[in-house]
């Protein structure tokens, strides 16, 4: 009780947010594939301070991922083609889930598949064991696997069917992660909402390519790869703005977030929470400083709850 009052006094702004039935202590979550399984850097960073952690995409079977080179820096960004390297759902259940019981923050499990059945099987396996995972983020938008989720992410009907099927088998949070590589991201978001998703997250990486002119070949092994980092922030913010006008469920904003200012841009555009990706590579503790920066903003403009400013720029008519 004492502790609660003390926290109240330190941070005037209520940083907590709710997605579905789940409470997040603050809106800052680490993005899938950019914070491993959440436990790798716990000696370096107090991960319990994050609003949540989205773990690396898990597939039905383990995947070794794409051959090297897998990443390259680009202006204010990077390209990656990891190819969903992961330990597979069975090892995730046996080796990682037990670690989450004491992690002190919300764990969201990101899953990827090539067929509706694969997604179903993964979730069924996880639902069959006891865990404190708060929900699933459905990756329908990874551009780096040849036969991959990408087909779902560009098609409204497929997105709807997939979401519907998964909604039937879990009561946990269901977050559909959207691809920016489409003509109309808002309509895909609408399909996810219609099918019962609790939230959508946007954006995954943007398809990109970079060439070594001396070797005359692509700088990453697969030619096409995914662009992330500050370079894509304006694209992510525009996506959230467009989605905000189309749906009523919460949006989790992703793309190029480096500081509290960037988080606030997303929130003002319509995001209820955000995910931090590439910036973790510069500093795995970078998200923690964002929390402090947002508190200062809240104090300066006398905002009592972070939820109060969600979408204020996008709902203005001008």
């Amino acid at each position: 009780m004492d502790l609660f009052i003390q926290q109240e006094m330190l941070s005037l702004i209520d940083m907590s947010i709710k997605i579905g039935k789940v409470l997040f202590k603050n809106p800052i979550i680490t993005a899938s594939g950019t914070f491993g399984y959440g436990t790798e850097v716990s000696s370096l960073v107090n991960v319990s301070k994050f609003g949540g952690i989205v773990t690396k995409s898990i597939t039905l079977n383990p995947r070794e991922g794409n051959p090297p080179p897998r990443i390259v820096e680009t202006p204010s960004g990077m390209l990656n083609s990891i190819g969903l390297a992961n330990i597979g759902v069975d090892q995730y259940i046996s080796k990682k889930i037990p670690l989450y019981s004491t992690i002190g923050t919300n764990i969201i499990m990101n899953i990827a598949g090539t067929t509706v059945n694969e997604y179903i099987e993964i979730i069924k396996k996880v639902e069959s064991v006891s865990s404190n995972i708060v929900g699933y983020e459905i990756n329908i938008s990874c551009p780096n696997v040849k036969r991959g989720g990408m087909e779902f992410g560009i098609d409204c009907d497929l997105t709807e069917k997939l979401t519907e099927s998964l909604r039937k088998i879990t009561e946990r949070l269901l977050i559909v992660k959207l691809s920016p590589n489409v003509t109309n991201i808002a309509s895909i978001a609408q399909s996810a909402e219609k099918a019962g998703a609790d939230a959508v997250s946007a954006i995954n990486t943007v398809v990109g390519m970079s060439i070594d002119i001396h070797k005359q070949k692509s700088k990453v092994y697969t030619k096409l790869s995914g662009l992330s980092g500050p370079a894509i922030r304006p694209i992510g913010i525009a996506s959230v703005h467009k989605i905000f006008q189309a749906i009523d469920i919460p949006i989790i904003g992703i793309g190029g977030i480096t500081c509290g200012n960037d988080v606030l841009e997303y929130i003002l555009a319509g995001a209820s929470a955000v995910q931090v990706g590439t910036s973790n590579y510069r500093d795995p503790g970078i998200a923690l400083s964002m929390i402090e920066e947002i508190k200062l903003y809240g104090e300066k403009y006398i905002i009592s709850s972070i939820s109060d400013i969600v979408g204020v720029v996008s709902s203005n008519t001008k």
Partner: protein
């Protein structure tokens, strides 16, 4: 491993296009484990270059760390323009280190900027100097920072013969190896050199540890960007797939037999 704002003490060109930078890094040096480890340097507070640049530790003593680097592109150019007193944000120490045996004859081979960890190991082997041999290769004498001195077990090679033995480090390695028994090779350098050393040690059945490079994202095992192909999978904490290994956490030092150069 920590991030630390380090203060630059020196930053000088020590050979043609090769620079040495020394900085105060009490936190990082207190966690240092040995030659072979590296750090990740943030180029500047802006985000034009989001990724840090990996550099091997060339020395670590009295809270001071040094690196030896070559100007490749924009990032290393920026580093070379820093002056004493400037501050850099550094993450480290990262990765594993060379493991040597006291009773072996240790042959150290460094090529190009692969110099840094090898020089570092050379310093570490100080008391074992009688049992240690240092071979360093460069294209031409301007790129060398040592003197050829076989009496002190220091062998330099140059591609153009302008200093030391003419040819690559392989020539020197063969010469040195012929004179010794029960030896172990420690090498760092460009991939073509490492490949040749790998064939040589496998053919002659000598143990060897290679320090390999790879394009790095995070340096701490959370991006899966830095893989190399490997043989002989042993379950490591971070490299949770048989075919590949994460250089940043399970490397950069590998047993020569474990590495596959693509």
């Amino acid at each position: 491993m920590k991030t630390e704002d380090v203060i630059i003490i020196n930053n000088n060109e020590i050979a043609s296009e090769i620079w040495e930078m020394e900085f105060l890094a009490p936190k990082i040096s207190s966690n240092y484990k040995g030659a072979g480890q590296f750090i990740q340097i943030q180029l500047d507070p802006g985000w034009g270059n989001p990724l840090r640049r990996p550099m091997s530790i060339a020395s670590c003593r009295d809270s001071k760390i040094s690196i030896i680097y070559k100007i490749f592109g924009q990032g290393t150019k920026i580093l070379s323009q820093k002056i004493s007193g400037d501050v850099l944000n550094v993450l480290g120490p990262l990765g594993n280190s060379f493991q040597y045996k006291k009773n072996n004859l240790n042959i150290l081979v460094g090529g190009g900027v692969g110099l840094a960890p090898i020089i570092n190991l050379w310093k570490e082997l100080d008391e074992l100097r009688d049992n240690s041999y240092l071979i360093i290769g460069a294209k031409t004498k301007n790129e060398h920072i040592h003197s050829h001195n076989p009496d002190e077990h220091i062998y330099l090679t140059t591609d153009d013969g302008s200093m030391g033995l003419p040819g690559t480090v392989m020539e020197a390695l063969k010469v040195v190896y012929e004179n010794v028994k029960s030896s172990e090779v420690f090498a760092c350098g460009p991939e073509p050199m490492l490949k040749q050393i790998q064939s040589f040690v496998i053919k002659n059945n000598i143990p060897a540890q290679l320090s390999v490079e790879s394009y790095m994202g995070c340096g701490v095992g959370i991006c899966q960007g830095c893989i190399i192909s490997r043989r002989n999978y042993k379950n490591k904490n971070h490299s949770y797939h048989k075919k590949y290994s994460l250089v940043c956490v399970d490397g950069p030092i590998y047993s020569a037999g474990d590495v596959i150069f693509d």
